[in-house]
Structures are given as C-alpha cells and as structure tokens.
C-alpha cells in the first residue's frame, strides 16, 4: 500500500526540487528515535502481515472502508454531482482513527509500551486514547489549557478511555504548545514511548507516514467513484489544518493530473483581519515543529497565534507536502471564513441530514463554490468529491452559540 508518486519526498523527507519543504529540523537527541521509527515503519509497510493486520482492524473495528455517498439534494442545488466520502462514520467519528491505529500498531511492533499524543480539538487525542485502549498501551495526551476548556467533552472521553490528559498552559495554550510539550516528553521518554503525531506535519518520517496511514481515504474514494460512475471526479476537496485528511484524500489522486485538487484553509474572521489560520494563503516559508513549510510568523520568525472557529484547524503551520503541492500548483488552497463554514454546516444538516464537523464544513463550503463553477462549465455530470472528515457532535456547543440554538420556542436563523 506504499505509494510511489512524483510528488513524494526523498529519503531524507524533503519535498520538491532542491529540497525546499519538509526535512528534519530536530534536536539531535531525537534523531536516533526518528531513524528507528523510519526503518521500523519502512519494514512494516513491506510486511504483508502488518498490512493485513492494519486492514483487518480498520475493517472490523473502525468501520473502514467508509461509504461514498452521492448527496442528491445538495447536487440538485448546485447543478452537478456532489459526492461525500463519509469519514464521519468511522469509529471515533473522524478519519483520525486510520492514522492512530497505524501508528499504535507500529508501536506494538517496535516493542514500546506507551504512547503520547498532542491534540487540539481533542479528536486526535480521543482517537489515540481509543487505539491505546484497544491495543493495551499506556497513553498520555497533551492538550492546550485553552482547548481543554473549549472541548471539555473530549477531555472526559479520553479520561474514560483510560488516558491521562495533561493541560498545557505555556505559550498560547493551544495546539502548537501541546506539540511542544509532547516533544519535551518524548525527549526524556523516547526509549519506551512512541509519539503518535496527529497530522501530516512535523519531522520526517511523520508527513509521509501519516499520509500513508490516511491514504485509504483517497484510494478507496478513487475506486468507489470509478466503479460507480466509470470515471474520475473533476475535482476533489478537503479542509486543511495540519492537513492529514487532505493529504490522505489527495494521495489517491495526485498522479491523475486531470483531477483538480482543492484544499480549504480556515479563514477565521477573514484573512484581511489577521484573525485566521490560513497558513498557505497568508503565511511564509519557515521551520516549525521539525519541517520547513508555510507558517504564520512575524518579521522575526516568531510563530503567530492562529484563529479559527474550528479547534481542529487552529494551527499556525501546515504539513510540508501541502506547501510543496501549493508551491508547484498541483493543488490549490483557498480560505473559508468561520461564517461560511458555519453556513455550510447548517446547509448540509438541513439538505442531507448530516451534521458534520466544523472542520469538514470548511471543505463543504469551498467545494460547493467549485461545484457551481463546474456545473456552469461542464454541466450536470461533473463530479465533485468532498472528504467529510468528521462528524459534528463535538461541535454542538459552538453551533448552539453560533446559531442561537437550544431554545425550543425560538426559530433557528441560518
């Protein structure tokens, strides 16, 4: 299941000509562990028994392959076919389970007994705690103190699953600081602990390894579309924070040059306001968390705090392969504001009966604009495929506040 694509990194983890993106900008103390991880992962991916076990667990435990659903009422509205890859129906409610089951299985194979993870919204933390419980590993999750308050329900879920949740109050108290703290843990625990990195960012091999564990999204969707419609989609779309669901989807289609690829970034209050997390749209090249990538930074290279209504996209960096794909133009990235994402969340709920995560609603919003354009140029048979990366249960608090829900007497505005 390992891909070989012209868009892959070289053996040192650099993407692009001249090695502009990615790499491994890391303390020497962690290099041995990253080398060990790289070789263990490479061997595992060449071992049919590992691949077989991974696929069996995904199938029997995580409800993968996920369904591909033609959103017929939504399609009528925009004038062409809109397909949803239903990652929201996976166990734990998002694509994240693919990545953590892959990494946790690898942890067992390497003989380590403990995993650590960072989490923003809590989805990766919940998935990590789930995988740890399933495979009998100890689990510690680092979460920004601000996020533990925003996502108290997910804190409770992780605790119920047996994980220790550590609130991180350094820096901005959000995802980037949780990553810093997880690295600090890892430096002192690396001999018996694996770091389950939550997105396709960070030092080599994480961007490539996380992509490969998530690439089932794209590979399955490609086969499902071909089987049902006899051709490839015209465009595919995903939301991009760190970018794991997006790169997992894109991986299946990168070499199909006729398929347009869209990544939708969190535009927050609007890129022009400065309160956003649209890293590729508005950031510059730099090094954060071990990779050279686009990031939000000030003139001195200090990381700038990001903002998004969606905690899962609220990250000032992005996976280095996305930077590469943006730089060479293979994929296009555009911002979607908080307001537009919330509008899309409500639209999908009322039109299709699906309450998606606010993260995924960014993809829905952006993709519907793409679909309207395609309908105008190519007609009703055009196909737009959206990765619905997660479900929206965790976001009901935000939705209640945004839409003024919860009062049975009151009409909902949306």
């Amino acid at each position: 299941m390992t891909s070989t694509s012209r868009y892959d990194a070289d053996e040192r983890g650099y993407f692009g000509e001249g090695g502009q993106w990615g790499g491994r900008f890391m303390p020497e103390a962690l290099v041995a562990a990253l080398d060990e991880l790289t070789s263990a992962w490479t061997e595992a991916m060449a071992d049919p028994s590992f691949i077989g076990e991974f696929e069996a667990i995904l199938r029997d435990y995580a409800n993968v392959p996920s369904a591909l659903y033609e959103a017929t009422r939504l399609s009528e509205q925009v004038g062409c076919r809109v397909l949803l890859k239903r990652e929201d129906l996976n166990h734990t409610g998002a694509h994240k389970i693919r990545n953590v089951l892959g990494q946790a299985l690898l942890t067992k194979r390497m003989g380590k007994k403990r995993v650590i993870a960072e989490t923003g919204a809590g989805q990766h933390g919940v998935a990590s705690a789930t995988a740890a419980a399933y495979l009998g590993l100890d689990c510690t999750v680092y979460m920004g103190a601000v996020d533990t308050k925003r996502q108290a329900l997910n804190v409770a879920r992780m605790q119920l699953l047996g994980a220790e949740v550590v609130a991180v109050d350094t820096g901005s108290g959000t995802l980037k600081d949780a990553i810093n703290e997880a690295f600090r843990d890892w430096v002192s625990s690396v001999d018996h602990t694996a770091y389950l990195f939550g997105t396709a960012a960070g030092p080599h091999p994480f961007p490539t390894m996380v992509r490969e564990f998530c690439r089932g999204i794209g590979d399955e969707a490609r086969a499902q579309v071909l089987e049902r419609y006899g051709r490839l989609p015209d465009a595919i779309a995903a939301c991009v924070g760190g970018g794991s669901n997006a790169i997992g989807l894109f991986a299946g289609f990168l070499d199909d040059e006729e398929v347009a690829i869209w990544g939708f970034e969190p535009g927050g209050d609007g890129v022009e306001t400065g309160r956003h997390a649209a890293t590729i749209t508005a950031g510059g090249s730099g090094v954060l968390h071990g990779a050279r990538t686009y990031l939000l930074q000030d003139e001195d290279g200090q990381t700038v705090e990001s903002h998004s209504i969606s905690a899962g996209l609220d990250y000032p960096g992005v996976g280095p392969q996305h930077s590469h794909l943006a730089h060479i133009g293979r994929a296009r990235y555009a911002p979607v504001t908080d307001a537009a994402a919330m509008e899309a969340m409500a639209l999908l709920a009322r039109t299709e009966g699906i309450i998606c995560a606010i993260e995924s609603a960014h993809a829905v919003s952006g993709a519907l604009d793409v679909a309207r354009e395609l309908a105008a140029t190519k007609g009703p048979d055009a196909i737009v495929l959206i990765n619905l990366s997660g479900r929206g249960d965790k976001d009901m608090g935000t939705a209640i506040e945004w839409f003024g829900l919860g009062d049975a007497q009151k009409d909902v505005e949306a």
Binding site: F25, V31, A32, A33, R184, L288, D300, Q302, T303
Partner: protein, 274 residues
C-alpha cells in the same frame, strides 16, 4: 571571534571552562546586559546568549518562562545582536544559542554577517543537526564563526563522528535525555558521551567537549569538570533572576554568588563531589 582561546586558557590552567547562559531581553534588554556583565566579571569564560523564541521545544519551564517574559516585553532579533555586542565588548567569547526559524527568517547569511560584526563568536543550534544545517555551515565558515552542534546519549557513533567533524569551537554534549532545567544529581550518561565525543572526533581536531543540562551549583560543576572541557550552566542562572523578582540589585548579587561558586567548582575538578 571564537571560543577556542577561552578553552585553551582553561586547559592551560588545568581546569574546565565555565559557560554561562542567559536569554537576551530577560528581565529586559538592559537588565540582561547587566546580568551578563556580572556573569563575565564573576568568572564565566564563555557566554551564551539565548534568542527568545515562541516554540522552544528543548527548554524546560524555567527557560521557557524567561523567554516568554522577554518576548512579551517586545525583545527582537536586533535586540539580541545588540546584547551580543555589549557582552562581546568585554573580550569574553559570546555565542548565541537559538532555535532555527528566527535565523532563517532574518536571513542566514545576513544573520552570520551581523553576528560577526557585533563581535559574536558563533551559534549553538539546538534544533538543527549538521545534516540539516548546510546553509548555516556555509554562512558560519564565510564569516569565521563557531558552529556548536549537539550530541546526545542516544547519538550513534557514526553521528557523533559526523557532528564533531562539523563543529567548530566546541561540541555540546547533552548530559541527560531531557529538556533544560536544574537537576539535583548529575547524569551518569554524560561521562561515556564525553569519552565518545573525544574518541570519535577527527584526529588532531582537539575539539573541546562541553557538558550541559542540569548543573546548578559548584559541587555539580566540579563533578562535570573532572571529565569535560566545559561546564554549561543555564537554568540555574535564569532561576536565580526569576527568584529575585523585581529586586534587580538582589538578583545581580545572587547571580554573582552563583557564578563565583560555579567558577570555583570548575577549578576544583572532582575534588568536590556531588
């Protein structure tokens, strides 16, 4: 400038060098300069000035707090270079310890040029290794600056050889697997690492080996000085200033006492014991 003469002088006196760290801009820009002058005056042979950074993954809570305070007060990269200039003017070799992104953002070549013209001796780079540091190596060589890379207990022999071959000035041996911070006991991983860093470096390189992470008093310094060429102290200095709070004079007095204790420690060698 280079740190080499400081290590040679210490070696000729039959002792290890004392290398003291403080972030620029902490407690504020002039306050850091005052504190660094006290550290020079009271016996540091080499100074490391930290460049405060928003995401310091290798630092423990003490240095994180100081760096955050400096950033909150508006400390800029140019303030760090001005601090280097003020300290290097004493004649004591002065390095900058920095995470990589601020250097890349400033411009690697421009940073090297401005550091050299401020009288700086070079850089310590905790989050780049020589195999990810081609741009820095080229700029440092062009401007005759020290390149202090790190080795760790987990480094393979091959990587220790590669890292020492790429370093100039000294090589920084991280004595424990962990982030910065004062520790009550010194590590038993440090001695073997120093031995490897000496044995695996290029023949005739005579690259000194500095040991960092955890030393907080003269007795610990004496233990490390018995087997290392340099004893690196950071968090203990920062902690001293943090504990003094707003009483600057008391902070500087405590800093002097600590520096003198450490300077005596590196002169006793292993006679002290931990």
């Amino acid at each position: 400038m280079s740190t080499t003469p400081a290590f040679e002088r210490a070696r000729s006196e039959g002792r290890a060098a004392l290398i003291g760290y403080l972030p620029a801009g902490f407690p504020d820009v002039p306050g850091a300069v005052d504190a660094l002058h006290v550290m020079v005056d009271a016996g540091c042979d080499v100074i490391e000035i930290g460049l405060p950074y928003s995401d310091p993954v290798m630092d423990g809570p003490t240095i994180q707090a100081a760096a955050q305070q400096a950033l909150d007060a508006g400390c800029r990269t140019t303030d760090v270079l001005r601090t280097v200039e003020a300290v290097a003017a004493t004649g004591t070799p002065t390095l900058v310890m920095t995470y990589w992104n601020p250097v890349e953002r400033y411009g690697v070549e421009r940073f090297a040029a401005d550091l050299a013209s401020a009288g700086g001796a070079g850089l310590i780079t905790p989050d780049i290794t020589p195999d990810a540091g081609e741009a820095w190596i080229a700029a440092a060589d062009a401007h005759d600056l020290d390149k202090v890379f790190l080795v760790a207990p987990s480094s393979t022999d091959e990587r220790v050889a590669m890292t020492t071959a790429a370093s100039r000035g000294f090589v920084y041996a991280t004595a424990v697997m962990g982030v910065t911070g004062a520790r009550t006991t010194t590590s038993d991983l440090a001695g073997p690492l120093v031995t490897r860093a000496r044995a695996l470096q290029p023949k005739d390189a005579h690259l000194p080996v500095g040991v960092g992470l955890g030393v907080s008093n003269g007795d610990q310094a004496a233990v490390v000085a018995a087997y290392a060429d340099g004893v690196i102290v950071g968090s203990a200095f920062v902690r001293t200033l943090l504990d003094a709070g707003t009483d600057r004079a008391a902070g500087l007095a405590a800093l002097r006492t600590l520096t003198e204790d450490l300077a005596a420690g590196v002169r006793r060698g292993d006679a002290g014991g931990a």
